[in-house]
């Protein structure tokens, strides 16, 4: 059927046939691409980031003096700078043809692997874990670029392995993909950084799922996962993590939890969220979250500030905006002409979606406290840049949806 055999899809061809232009989109100049950029989506992403900046301003607000407090006043400005840098980076990355992404994928993957191993040996300790690598003045957290690198590597791997005739893949191919995912995930887990390891694995699994692994394996994996829960709880989790799980179960089943320790944070978060009510107390009026009742209110628990100040309307609005972005990204994946473009978009979207879901679930007391930032909103540099880079990849997949992949893996 196909004229070149580089793609297994018909939708793209249909688009090419019906499109007014027969130009190869990948060959367009950067200015034409900028003109075709979905600016509405770009602005929406930037807007969500600005919500984060506004919330950080609120966290640093001193209601007594009606002025920014001395202590946390600078957070919002820092975050605004990062958001601007990230925004420019996102647009620049969107201009990169998918072929370039694919070519770079193995290099990035190997680089991240090396960095992760180096962290194991030379990492800086922080918060009881070795997560940072110091190269001269630059402090690097390799687990953050790992999210993108793994996505790119797995997508690239499937692009190379996918049969030209459209038949489904044999199991061993999927097992190979699993290996690509689990090696860095294991290194990250060992740091220890359970949340990032989980996110890496989960988004990798989503790629494997969309690459067409048989339903029986999916079902088997889910059942095995459920069966492994007690074993993981007993043997894998650290005592403090077990305690968090205990706290969560106690909270959900309505048992009394002592007001201290892990449950204090969750209790205070629930009070802040509930006190917001339907319409919230208004911007800069969130006493409960502003006045240090909720620990980590500027990073992992920033959703409590939104909930208290903007209420049910604000929180549901934010979750809906996120949902819209994810649906749009999935449509980008569905419209892409190459396996690489599709699967890389799936991986990037899943990474952001998992953080959003896990963070909200944790703040709302539905999931154990695992230390996950809320994408685009939580204070923190590397996480923000990584999320913006993931959106850059998704935007690239949108702009280059008709690009024919002429490459098979690494150069």
């Amino acid at each position: 059927m196909s004229r070149d055999g580089f793609t297994g899809f018909t939708r793209g061809e249909a688009r090419v046939r019906t499109a007014a232009s027969t130009l190869q989109f990948a060959e367009l100049g950067p200015f034409s691409k900028l003109a075709r950029m979905p600016w509405g989506i770009v602005l929406l992403i930037f807007g969500v980031g600005l919500v984060g900046v506004a919330m950080l301003f609120s966290v640093g607000w001193d209601p007594v003096t009606q002025a920014p407090s001395a202590r946390e006043a600078g957070l919002w400005r820092e975050q605004l700078t990062r958001l601007s840098v990230g925004g420019v980076l996102m647009v620049l990355l969107a201009l990169l043809p998918l072929g370039v992404w694919a070519r770079l994928s193995w290099l990035a993957y190997l680089g991240v692997l090396v960095l992760l191993v180096l962290v194991d040996f030379f990492g800086i300790m922080g918060g009881g874990a070795a997560r940072w690598l110091k190269v001269g003045p630059i402090v690097l957290q390799p687990s953050e670029p790992a999210k993108l690198a793994v996505t790119l590597a797995v997508a690239s791997y499937y692009q190379r392995m996918m049969p030209l005739n459209g038949r489904s893949l044999p199991l061993w191919v999927h097992l190979g993909a699993l290996a690509i995912i689990l090696i860095p995930a294991a290194l990250v887990f060992k740091q220890p950084n359970l949340s990032t390891a989980l996110a890496l694995t989960a988004s990798g699994m989503m790629i494997v799922f969309f690459a067409g692994i048989g339903y029986r394996y999916v079902l088997g994996a889910i059942l095995a996962g459920i069966a492994a829960v007690p074993a993981i709880y007993t043997f894998v989790l650290e005592p403090y993590q077990r305690q968090r799980v205990d706290t969560l179960i106690a909270g959900i089943t309505g048992q009394t939890t002592n007001g201290l320790g892990e449950s204090y944070q969750i209790e205070q978060a629930k009070i802040a969220i509930g006190a917001g009510g339907v319409s919230g107390k208004g911007y800069l009026q969130g006493i409960q979250s502003q006045q240090e009742y909720v620990p980590e209110q500027h990073t992992d628990f920033i959703l409590t500030v939104i909930a208290e100040e903007f209420g049910f309307i604000g929180t549901v609005g934010l979750l809906t905006v996120f949902a819209f972005l994810f649906v749009w990204s999935f449509r980008v994946a569905a419209r892409n002409r190459s396996w690489f473009g599709r699967l890389a978009t799936i991986g990037a979207t899943s990474t952001i979606a998992f953080f959003t879901i896990f963070n909200s679930g944790m703040v709302l007391g539905l999931l154990p406290v695992l230390g996950m930032p809320l994408p685009l909103i939580s204070y923190g540099g590397t996480a923000l840049i990584t999320v913006m880079a993931c959106f850059g990849l998704i935007l690239s997949a949108h702009l280059h949806r008709d690009e024919k992949m002429t490459t098979h893996g690494p150069i």
Partner: protein, 647 residues
Amino acid sequence: MSRKTKNADEMFDRRMFMAAGVGGIVWATLVGRLFQLQFLEAERYQDLAEANHVKLVMAPPERGQILDRFGRPLASQRQAGRVSVIPEQMKDPEAVLNRISNLIDLPDTRRERLIEEIRNARRRNAAFLPVIVAQELTFEEFSRMQVHAVEMAGVDVQMASTRSYPRGRDFGHVLGYVARASAEDLDRLTEGLVPEDRRIYQEMFRHPDMRTGRQGMERFAEDWLRGRPGRRRVVANAHGRPLWELEQDPKQAAVPGKDLYITIDAELQRTAIDRFEGESGAAVVIDIENGDVLAMVSTPAFDPNGFVNGISGADYAVLRDDPRAPLYPRAHGGVYPPGSTFKMVVATAALEAGVIKPEDHVRCPGHYRFGNRTWHCWKRGGHGAMNMHNAIKQSCDVYFYEIARRAGVRKIAEVSRKFGFGHTWVLGMTGARGGLVPDPDWKQRVRNEPWFEGETLNFGIGQGQLGTTPLQLALMTARIAATGAPIRPRMIGLGPNDEDDALLDEPLDPAIMERMKAGMYGVTSEGGGTATRSGDLGLGGPRLAGKTGTAQVRRITAEERARGVVRGGDAIARELRDHALFVAYAPADNPKYAISVIVEHGEGGSRTAAPVARDILAAAIRMNSGRTPTYAQRAATTPEPEAGDPA
């Protein structure tokens, strides 16, 4: 189009729908949870949030003022600039204090104490309570601090209520002072309270604006002045630090303390202190008609303002080690031998005992032999034949040796007590002393020795073991001037009841008192009187009546007497010179004011003490210090607390 390719698209779409379905379920779960928390249970969480950050904090009551008899403030609350720090908000307390010390005067010792205090606050988990760095800022300091405080986290500059004594030293010994409650103060204040009240007191006195009376009237009238603390509803942060106020429940408001009026006339007090012209001494003026103490002077004195915010060790040492003893409350706590001012008491005792008649004569050759010893009269050549009137007028010692011996020690001691000697007159002050009226029982008990009759002779001229305070001497004078009428000394005009509310009403024969008054008039107004130069009040007519006295600081040895008595002058070191005393009342024909004056090391009662007493009495008459006090109206209208509510 191949079927396989179509399969791949279909597979992708199918799985996309599945993922979207799972995503939808997750979204619905999160929204459902939000609906539960923010809609269904919102009210409960709003209550919890309020319980979280609305706290009841202690509102300190405003301390009552202390006013003089005419309503002039002697102790009041004043707004003053203050710098405080909140330990929990400071990253590096030492650096912050160093910066503050560049802006305002902050001695190194104070800074070290503050660092210690901040450390303690952190240890006690009270790091959200302000620690006061400096108070009583000057205007320049206050503005400088306000400009720079915004750059220093945890530093507060504000106006605060602080105790102030506008008349400073004038009332140091009467009013005492307030201070932050120490552990001992708290023990004293909460003695006998139930644990619940004890906790309230402890919380109240932890407040940086709270003070408690440590000395004087401030301590005596503590309950009257303090008022009742209230509760304020404030919004607090997670560390319990108050952020801002909510609307107040009027029932929970602090009840300010009541004002205390004292009987003293602050202007008379001031005039009296000035009149000492820097000499050490004491003066007490009493209104004869009602016992109001109109002036209570002890000089030099300390300034109570220095104690309000805690006096430094160095400053206190200066006061303590000052040889002129500014901390010593001479007027009510200084015990002196009364010397010849005591002779009216001895004469009264002799007349009451009937051992002599007023017109009987005693011959004074200048000395008096008893047993194998010789007692001397102050006049070397002797006074010749003396009746009682002349003996008082000329202060003849020999006459009083004789009548004292005849009356006996027990009679003199009994009459002394009738005049108020030996009793501790507190009148709401601290540091009051009762002195000593010696008698054989006392000597047997304390010294385990029998009484020697020779000691009775010393007693007769107000020397020996006898110890009296200027306040007691003023009371004695007031009783004589009132011709023996009862007198109730008091200094609390409108305030708590004086526990010491003792009426001095032991019967004194008016006829005898008239003789004493005549003698005292002789002293100032008849030829040969010892103080005739000070008899005229200088008001164009009215005179005063009084009695001079000299309190020996050291015994004159026989050797010195043989050499020619040296009783004063430059040959003797100042601190060994005798004290000069004078007691008086005025106007002589219609007594209104009684006074006692002691000028320490003033040597001669007539030369140094009498003019001081004269001028103070003249000032009291001129200023009409004894006129109706302003609180009289209020005292009459203030309803007495009812014993029981009939309803």
